[in-house]
Symmetry: C2
Subunit: 339 residues, 2 copies
């Protein structure tokens, strides 16, 4: 029995690179029984050498599991999901850790898995790759998005929310899959594109060596994620191209405003535009939230609970606790507050 009453679970982590490996290493420190599997035999050996439980065959990893974390490359998730469903027990709850959520949600709904599959996206990472770079503390304090597929997904959502909160010390952000993809276009994908643009322009420039020699913090921070393995970034960006296309105009328009003001020497307009951005940046550093809680009883509809959760996430809030007591569920949450 884990703290707050979550039973000990039998968990499998399928795909153990940086992200899945960090999930596995964290769970290995808890009272849950966890096993890893990776397509690459070398990774399985590395894992065993690190003292982690690894299965040699996917079937063996999945047998008798209560929860499966599907952590392969983004484009492999729909196929991987079908493989897991074929081999895992019928009661098994499945989640993933992919950085876009629509494609896998569509695949899960088509396969009739709305009651068993809840998409996930732990919002932390690194420009490094592989199990050797994995660390059990990667997700501590980070937002972890969960995207239930409607009302049928609520029981699985509750289970995963408790697991994420209790075992990872992360914050759960409930979101509709489409809304998630729209938000991360700005919160993650376009930042990768901007970093790539700066690094690529430098690579192509006739002052490349001198720029690298003089690069201060602004350049170094602004290109950090350009060091991410390019195939991984490509996979992520292509998978979310619709949302990126919807949101890139906003960033290009702000860029135009800034560049136009600079080139025109219009200090007043430039200051105004930079101040808007500084406002958002300072709010990021000191986010103002206030705690609240909400209990749902058997008398209330699941629809009400789902709506509450999705609106909470979309408005910038998160779940910090989930207690189940008979037919009552109580969510402790943080809501954005005006300072």
């Amino acid at each position: 029995m884990a703290r707050d009453g979550l039973p000990t679970l039998r968990i499998a982590v399928v795909g153990t690179g940086l992200i899945g490996g960090s999930v596995l290493r964290r769970l290995a420190q808890t009272e849950h029984e966890v096993v890893g599997w990776d397509l690459d035999p070398g990774t399985r050996t590395t894992g065993t050498d690190l003292g982690l439980a690894f299965a040699d065959r996917l079937d063996d990893a999945l047998a008798g599991r209560d929860v499966v974390f599907l952590c392969g490359p983004l484009s492999s998730l729909p196929t991987g999901l079908a493989e897991v469903v074929a081999a895992a027990p019928k009661h098994c709850v499945i989640t993933d850790v992919g950085s876009t959520k629509m494609a896998v949600a569509v695949a899960a709904e088509r396969a009739g898995l709305a009651g068993r599959f809840v998409g996930g996206h732990p919002m932390a990472g690194s420009e490094r790759a592989g199990l050797a770079a994995a660390t059990p503390d990667l997700y501590v304090g980070a937002p972890w998005v969960l995207t239930p597929l409607g009302v049928p997904g609520l029981p699985a959502f509750r289970l995963l929310a408790r697991l994420v909160l209790e075992s990872f010390d992360a914050r759960v952000v409930p979101l509709d899959a489409t809304v998630h993809d729209d938000i991360v276009a700005l919160a993650s994908h376009i930042p990768h594109i901007l970093a790539g643009a700066l690094a690529t322009a430098t690579d192509r420039s006739d002052v490349r060596a001198a720029v690298l020699s003089l690069a201060a913090g602004s350049f170094s921070d602004g290109t950090r994620v350009a060091g991410t393995p390019s195939a991984r970034t490509t996979d992520m960006l292509i998978n979310n191209r619709a949302a990126i296309a919807r949101r890139i105009g906003l960033v290009r328009s702000a860029l135009d405003d800034l560049v136009d003001a600079v080139v025109a020497g219009d200090a007043e307009r430039l200051l105004s535009c930079l101040s808007e951005g500084r406002h958002a940046r300072l709010d990021l550093l000191a986010r103002h939230t206030e705690p609240a809680s909400r209990t749902f009883t058997a008398g209330e509809s699941y629809n009400e609970e789902l709506t509450y959760l999705l609106e909470l996430g979309a408005s910038g809030g998160c779940v910090t606790g989930c207690q189940i007591d008979g037919d009552r569920v109580t969510y402790a949450v943080l809501k954005p507050a005006t300072p």
Copy 2:
């Protein structure tokens, strides 16, 4: 006598915010005799409270000084330079720490100061501001650009190079002022514009709170310098608008390439473009340099020394040591090398 034979100098630091304050705090740890001055009486009090020597009047700060660091806001430098020249001894060498070098170089040449003024730009900073944020170690290991105004500036360059190397543990990058401004457009100013564009677009977006809630490392790093006081960034960008205008096209073109490939779902083209950028990023993390040295004797022309230094800096190299032995000067340098 300092190490490597630099005599003990009487130094004034005029303007003691983040940058000047860090210069002052560092020099206060050396054997040089240093005094600070700031236009703001509150800053002078803060400095005195921190145990730093401060003068109440600019004249007092400048009397009998061998070297002056002019560290006020960028746009104030030409005026500040005239004030310093009026009050400092005739032999006094003057440098500044501004992030663009053309405007102050033009002002110095017009004032006939080519033999006494060498522009400077220590390439480290912080999004914070003020003397309280200043730290003596800010420049350790950082590139510190020095821009001699032709052959007449060489003796002053040598003095400042030794001071920067010995007292700040920085690397000296000799550059022509125009070349400097062109390089920092890419190495610092355009990164500030990109960070501003991302932060401003977020501030304007209808999913602002959710984006800030989900922001992972890529967003946080990509907006860090958007937290810089906006007036300081405005001053810096406006002062270098010509070079920014010359270089922004390269970044926009790379951005277009990336966005076009994403929107078209062209994974192959996207991977190729991201890989170019990753190449530059990885070179930034593991710059390959090789040590060399060069001695100039009285028989060689100053022109030759100047050309050597400026080519070294423009090619991505730097000076790591400067020894003067009678009429010989020996530079220890690092040159970019192919891995």
